[in-house]
Symmetry: C2
Subunit: 348 residues, 2 copies
Amino acid sequence: MGELAPLRESYSGKRVLVTGGLGFIGSGLVRRLVRMGASVTVIDACFPDQGANLFNLKGVLDEVALVVADIGRVDDISAYIVDQDYVFNLAACISHVGSLRDPLRDLERNCVSQLRFLGALTELSRGARVLYTGSRSQYGSPLYTPMDEEHPLRPVDFNGVHKTAVEEYHRILHGLDKLRFTSLRLTNIYGPRHQMHHDGQGFLNWFIRQALAGQELCVYGDGTQKRDFLYVDDAVEAILLAASDPRCEGKVFNLASGFPVSVAEAAAVICEVSGNSYRCVPYPPDAVAVEPGDIHLDGSRLQELLAWRPRVELREGIEKTLYFYRRHGSRYFHEGKARVDLKAGAMG
Amino acid sequence: MGELAPLRESYSGKRVLVTGGLGFIGSGLVRRLVRMGASVTVIDACFPDQGANLFNLKGVLDEVALVVADIGRVDDISAYIVDQDYVFNLAACISHVGSLRDPLRDLERNCVSQLRFLGALTELSRGARVLYTGSRSQYGSPLYTPMDEEHPLRPVDFNGVHKTAVEEYHRILHGLDKLRFTSLRLTNIYGPRHQMHHDGQGFLNWFIRQALAGQELCVYGDGTQKRDFLYVDDAVEAILLAASDPRCEGKVFNLASGFPVSVAEAAAVICEVSGNSYRCVPYPPDAVAVEPGDIHLDGSRLQELLAWRPRVELREGIEKTLYFYRRHGSRYFHEGKARVDLKAGAMG
């Protein structure tokens, strides 16, 4: 993908911190930021059940400062968060089902760690531009679709509550003039570098894993529930544009493609591209509790403000994703493998 | 106040837990519940900067089980929270300015402790009727007045964020069929048994303290900012009615008088009754940040559902409050005194 000149101007030579920078979207940001000449620091806790993978930064790792630590451990990270121009605050624990099994862990990893981190950040990088990534799960079951930013926040799991609380921390600190924030509530993002060793996040990627394994895809319910899928490179571009645009400061936007498709349609595209088949199965009991029905975010406000549109259509995005994992799947399909890489520093 | 027959029927012989039951509103609930023949357990952390005061339960202390513990210490309290019919979940840390000074403490005392408590409660009193008391501070600065329950939640301090998160915990557990909740977002409540040793909560009570000390009352700003004041006995009755009414289950309501008055008008009533005077002074810096302007909750939804109206008008409520503190002020004006009472168990 070519670089947009205004983006390069915004980030070249700037000090940029990416929390969760070894993860799926975080690593996409880091790779582009490095290419644009930013001075990038990555902080990632590398929780084994989340998306951190050292392989995500293969090729740019020598050009970033990498700190493996929970962002809540402020004594360990304080030297690395000084005088940042931009902070992409993506570090989060994002399992919906997991938050119902262990709500306290979700609270500790999200709210407690974020509150510690933001407290330190406002001391050490006062006035930094901070972009926080929220989630569609903050809205819960739709009262109407597409859901705009005014839709009530009534999540169906604790993770959604905590995502909103952390968004609110940013908003309050913005109001106190201690940082300048933008929050983007993300639709379903898919693509290369997503974790593939459990199905607790990102079911489109999980479909792709099933397809690569030659398995029949399992669609929950009747597959008519709609989702809005956005390819990761498009999401990264929108995030970079929003963080550098003063008109986004202090505001909350949905980030979505604007082209909802049903889960069965998405499965059908994957099957077409990969030569597989899918079938519908009943929801497992713990997934029923967090299944919100159709989710279709209205992302038009941000799209119009930034004059940004996604460039990668679903079929193309799925092809790119399949291509990536056919080459590098071994780096993603087993949790143990990613961990060993990390500990050994071996990038192979 | 006479007992309403339906209330007595709802609570007589029932097992009732009141968290924060040594506090201002909690103790009012406990006193009425004991009079109605409920079997009452009180859990209170007795944080020194909050409202717990053993004197609040003078006269009924022999008839309740009292546990002095943070509700988050589930190992210490689990024996006391078994098989409760009703839970009035009032335990909270409620300083707005304090939450800006120490947001992590506010998070620990509210979200962490509540999440631990609710986890234990759903195991030990599954299906209990739980009434949670939220706050007008959850709404933040009004986009319109009166603010109904659909008004967006955009608090100006961390305490408001955490009050909402805990309300959401209840709602999610209700959705999972683990408890039956009602949340009441309270307007400004005033009256006897409110803490009077610092001005971080309940400015009407603080005015009353200034009046009793013969000081000129200090009204911040020009005094035109409106508030809705509800006398504590009225609040207690509405809370008891709401918790016992199945039509309130799973819902969130404002609890307000419906008669907003300006802060200067309220000060004038106190001065009339006490023979004092007031003057307007500029906001202190840390109060500016959490001053939301006019706050006028629309409490009509709950009032209509319960066919409940407040009985005590502002002037009468202020007279009753002044009368109480003239007799018992020594129990409330010094933090140390309340603590000594508590430790010695001396009720004098």
